[in-house]
């Protein structure tokens, strides 16, 4: 059986460390006939959904799919001029639950790149995206966007009889652990988000996030991505769960 992996830098490797042979998709590859790792450092959940569907459409062979969902604060828009734009909203910690509040907005910044990681500096575009982050998008909206991506991919994979496992970069995005951890208090979750969560098939999720599996084995204080040992622990945990669920 072949394996498809998609995710962010926790699966692609951090841009700071460069190319290394010990990423968890490499470690786990000995158990599969072939591994395709289409993860991208800094990529969004929108990109993960789009590129997974694109890959599966073009490759109809016997694939198992592992999706490592990433931060809800990244997304992508299509542009006739720039192609798929990767948008990272750096939302300040003090402003997580009330983005429409005027206070603390100086902590929020936005970064936009094209598919080749070139920084986009179009003034009108950046102004529009910055305002969208400051005034229009609450943390609930980021979460809803994330849940919609997960549900869309769940439906797509189920419909096409493709076996899969979902996991996440950290606890905040992990359905089985604590998706609501990004909120300051449980009441901040809207009924809509709770209803979307109910539709998720929790049995297809790993037990924990990659950050939990790697424990404290990160590259450095400045680069919290898993080091070689952390990647081995991740590969081991994910493979054990795959064996438990799918044999």
């Amino acid at each position: 059986m072949k394996l498809l992996v998609n995710g962010c830098s926790f699966s692609a490797g951090s841009s700071m460390q460069g190319s290394v042979p010990w990423l968890w998709p490499e470690v786990i590859s000995e158990n599969f006939s072939e591994v395709h790792n289409i993860s991208k450092a800094g990529g969004s959940n929108d990109r993960i959904l789009r590129t997974t569907m694109d890959f599966c459409k073009k490759n109809m062979e016997d694939y198992f799919v592992i999706i490592q969902w990433t931060s809800a604060f990244r997304h992508e828009y299509y542009s006739n001029q720039y192609g798929w734009m990767n948008i990272t909203c750096n939302v300040g910690d003090n402003n997580l639950t009330q983005l429409t509040n005027e206070s603390n907005k100086h902590n929020n910044t936005i970064e936009v790149t094209d598919e080749n990681d070139n920084i986009i500096e179009n003034k009108f575009l950046l102004d529009a995206l910055n305002k969208e982050m400051l005034y229009l998008t609450s943390i609930n909206d980021y979460n809803i966007r994330y849940l919609k991506n997960v549900l869309t991919l769940q439906y797509y994979l189920d419909k096409n009889n493709i076996k899969y496992m979902f996991t996440s970069m950290n606890e905040q995005e992990h359905i089985n652990v604590n998706l609501d951890a990004i909120y300051s208090k449980p009441t901040d979750v809207t009924i809509f988000e709770a209803n979307l969560k109910k539709q998720l098939n929790k049995t297809n999720w790993s037990k924990q996030s990659l950050q939990t599996y790697m424990v404290e084995n990160y590259i450095s204080q400045n680069d919290r991505h898993p080091n070689e040992k952390g990647n081995k622990l991740i590969a081991q945990a994910l493979f054990e769960e795959l064996m438990e669920k799918h044999g």
């Binding site: 789009r50 299509y78 006739n80 995206l129 229009l136 943390i139 439906y155 809207t190």
Partner: protein
């Protein structure tokens, strides 16, 4: 059998969103859901409402109420409308395209500074919203931001992508609840009919990306009716400048939808 209907003004009836007191006006009784001779009708449609709202309120209704003996007819609306949660007033805000919004080929050609009007979903919250001292500032910022995003940051493709995701999730939800359903839409722009693409009254003409094709193919085409409600009503509209169906138009829509549901053995 009970009917659950959800949509925009093409199902709620034309007219203002709020009355002079800022209270939301409920769907009118001449609209097509009430002309279908069903035992019981729930019409959750809202003028100027978005597809986001349609999904949210439908999920909310069927998670709170027993879904047994219901059929759901969902009338999807314009993909450029959207909804956001506004934590400051704990409410959902609806962003509806204004009548002066002119977009063609690419949204960047939009020439109007205010492309959106803003509705607030809950009538009690609306009063809080209007009473707030910074109300005008908030409204301006929100409408202006939505318009700037439309003009400078997003393409029609992005709105369509989000629309397709919303429809896929609705499919998934209704199927998981074993609720029989049919989808229709406001206009040909986002009406799905197998192997055909329409460019209709919305004046949107865009090349689709492969991603939209993949999402499109994931949609269950067989649950859609043949024509959007605006095409079913034909010339039976309110006036030359108001393309919403009049009472006769709503009766014709009711007849068409009833007939399709019977043909499919759903009622």
């Amino acid at each position: 059998m009970k009917l659950f209907a959800n949509g925009c003004s093409y199902t709620a009836g034309h007219g203002d969103v709020h009355d002079t007191n800022g209270k939301l006006i409920p769907p009118q009784d001449f609209t097509w859901p009430y002309q279908m001779d069903m035992d019981y009708v729930v019409n959750m449609s809202r003028r100027g409402g978005s597809n986001d709202r349609i999904l949210r309120t439908t999920m909310n209704y069927f998670n709170k109420n027993n879904a047994e003996d219901y059929i759901a007819v969902i009338q999807w609306t314009s993909p450029v409308r959207f909804e956001r949660f506004f934590p400051l007033h704990n409410c959902w805000t609806e962003y509806c395209n204004t009548s002066v919004m002119e977009v063609n080929h690419t949204l960047k050609d939009s020439k109007h500074k205010v492309g959106y009007t803003l509705h607030v979903d809950d009538e009690n919250v609306l009063r809080n919203f209007f009473d707030a001292s910074d109300f005008h500032n908030d409204i301006y910022n929100l409408q202006d931001t939505a318009t700037r995003v439309l003009m400078h940051a997003k393409e029609i493709n992005d709105y369509l992508i989000d629309f397709y995701k919303t429809v896929i999730i609705m499919q998934q939800f209704l199927e998981s609840k074993n609720i029989p359903y049919m989808f229709t839409s406001m206009s040909f722009f986002n009406h799905l009919k197998k192997d055909e693409t329409y460019f209709g009254i919305d004046k949107f003409e865009i090349p689709l990306t492969p991603y939209e094709h993949s999402l499109y193919e994931t949609l269950n085409q067989s649950v859609w009716n043949n024509d959007p409600v605006s095409a079913i009503a034909k010339d039976n509209v309110v006036s030359e400048t108001n393309g919403h169906p009049n009472e006769i138009g709503h009766k014709i829509i009711a007849g068409s939808i009833t007939s399709t549901l019977r043909e499919r053995g759903l009622i």
